[in-house]
Symmetry: C2
Subunit: 356 residues, 2 copies
């Protein structure tokens, strides 16, 4: 039997929307909502010293996770962490510096180096993550659901092989096309590690999980299916039954039917996707999350409001939509603009003929 | 009345394919086929001194345009030039350095600076381009068609405003969302300049023209329609009647129906697009050009051949396909791999049940 806060959580806008049930207003949260655009985040980060210390100290991770919720009436919290915690725990040595982005000290140069990789135990090597989840859940006190997350195996593999981020993915694609079996071995290892990691987050209390497939969109359709979507499908198959799931492939707008066929609860959409068309294509199969161009947050508030309305109008009927950006919020955004965006979503009243 | 070489050119594989007529084998050319992966190109460039001198000296431009044709039995030549010649002629001061990419000395900082821009006269400020076309046409002697090209107005605008290439397009999107009328003024100026420029290339002898919309894919569907596709449509409307045209929006796979509706002869496809699906969607409306992932050219030749076959199989019936890469060839590719790719396309025999 579930305890009271859990039952109440299941009835929140965010989790109802992921089940495509009607909500009073459309739920909203933002990718990277705990981040550098918030002065209080920058203050905590300065105290922590560097990004990885922020991630690896549950008290700091909890603090920054809750900061945006104190400012804006957001409908979900998302664990503050990084998609690269798994490769870091595998021994690749992650550093994340402002302006440089993530780098690994020991990237994978050759398929033969796969031997040195093991599956990290989520309750020891990645204990800082599950500790953060437990702490955040306690602090949230059942107010809003908490989203856990991981990177997609393909996305993790690109960083592990490139040592960071490369515009052309030269090394990763060399593996993919030149040594596809080695690539599949690596992906399978990441499937197993990610499944355990997300199940540990779920056991620690997260209410939904999201897979970030940041680089799936750089693949051909066939390669996406085999090297990105199939591994994500295997993760979904291995998660604790009943957990709401969101898959987000940036640049995946052409593949929505395939993504929906995984049985995920929700699909994250980048801003290039036309939401009305996406709803026609897969709206009967999954909730849709998105998809304001984060660049719009730099425009005057009147423009932001107009673009929020355009997205809300495009979705039409309100069940099954989680409002979000099409990608993470950037550090230069004025928090007042975020406040205006969130308010506009919650105050939106759909035209009568679009109501259920 | 057309002269003999022109009549013969109209019957070449490339121009037949753009008219969706049957060809003996599928025509093939490569985006950026005259480029750094060829040692003879690097030698000419070293003699020229720098990239812009290579572009601006018709003899050099002609020499490098013809180099790939001497090596490989390609079915089209493409003018060696750069998409940024127009903004350069508008006074923005283009430099292109290896490893840095294109930079403008005088980017557009403010909408008020639009005043300083005029429309370059193609036969004076851009005379080096039309001179190169005339020289190349003479040297080609009617062997294969010559493709002229320009950048899309939106793509040019991003470079002009950013001063170069930015991953987030912060400044260009600030104009787009914050000052859309100024953006449209700039785009209209580029429409007019590009129409005159391409008509001058056509008058000088190019047999087809292509618009490169490198950055259309970073837009929302609505913004793509208004700020990228609509200006390209206005250019097409202003071109000399009967000129074969190809539109290529990188990341535009979701918008093929809209692109086809412009009435272009062919649509360039990046590698993320499934060719079989693209053919079902718009194959009755336009020829399709593409779409091998250029990264595949780094793989062993057996893999390249397998991927060529996969694309040829996907297209099925052979009329209306121009084989190409999904984006430009990169400098690190072994020319032997290109030779193998071209040979495989020409030697491909489609399974009997796919023949007309």
């Amino acid at each position: 039997m579930k305890d009271a806060p859990t039952r109440a959580l299941e009835d929140t806008r965010f989790l109802r929307a992921l089940r495509r049930e009607l909500t009073d207003v459309t739920p909203v949260w933002l990718m990277r909502q705990a981040g550098r655009y918030l002065p209080e985040y920058r203050a905590t980060r300065a105290r922590a010293g560097d990004f990885m210390r922020l991630c690896k100290t549950p008290e700091y991770a909890c603090e920054v996770t809750l900061q945006p919720l104190a400012r804006f009436p957001l409908d979900a919290a998302i664990l503050f962490s990084d998609i690269l915690t798994i490769p870091d725990a595998m021994g690749l040595g992650l550093t994340i510096d402002e302006g440089v982005g993530p780098r690994f000290k020991h990237p994978l140069h050759e398929p033969s180096e796969l031997r040195r990789l093991g599956i990290p135990d989520p309750e020891t090597e990645l204990r800082y993550v599950t500790d953060a989840v437990r702490l955040i859940k306690r602090e949230l006190g059942g107010r809003v659901p908490l989203i856990g997350f991981a990177g997609s195996p393909w996305t993790l593999a690109t960083y592990m092989i490139e040592g960071g981020s490369d515009r052309e993915f030269i090394r990763a694609k060399r593996w993919l096309y030149g040594a596809p079996e080695a690539m599949e071995t690596l992906l399978e290892l990441l499937v197993e590690a990610t499944t355990q990691y997300l199940n540990a987050q779920i056991a620690a209390g997260v209410d939904a999980v999201m897979l970030f497939d940041t680089w799936g969109g750089v693949l051909t359709t066939d390669a996406y299916q085999r090297f990105s979507l199939a591994p994500m499908q295997r993760i979904l198959n291995g998660l604790k039954a009943g957990t709401p799931t969101i898959l987000f492939t940036k640049g995946g707008g052409q593949w929505l039917e395939r993504i929906a066929a995984t049985g995920c609860s929700g699909i994250g959409l980048d801003w290039s996707v036309d939401l009305a068309q996406a709803k026609r294509r897969v709206g009967e199969l999954a909730a849709l999350q998105g998809n304001l161009d984060p660049a719009i947050l730099r425009a005057p508030i009147a423009v932001i409001e107009q673009e929020v309305d355009r997205i809300m109008d495009a979705f039409g009927d309100g069940s099954g939509h989680v409002f979000n950006l099409g990608h993470g919020i950037t550090p230069d955004i004025d928090p007042e603009h975020v406040a205006a965006m969130v308010a506009r979503v919650h105050n939106y009243r759909r035209p009568k003929d679009l109501r259920r």
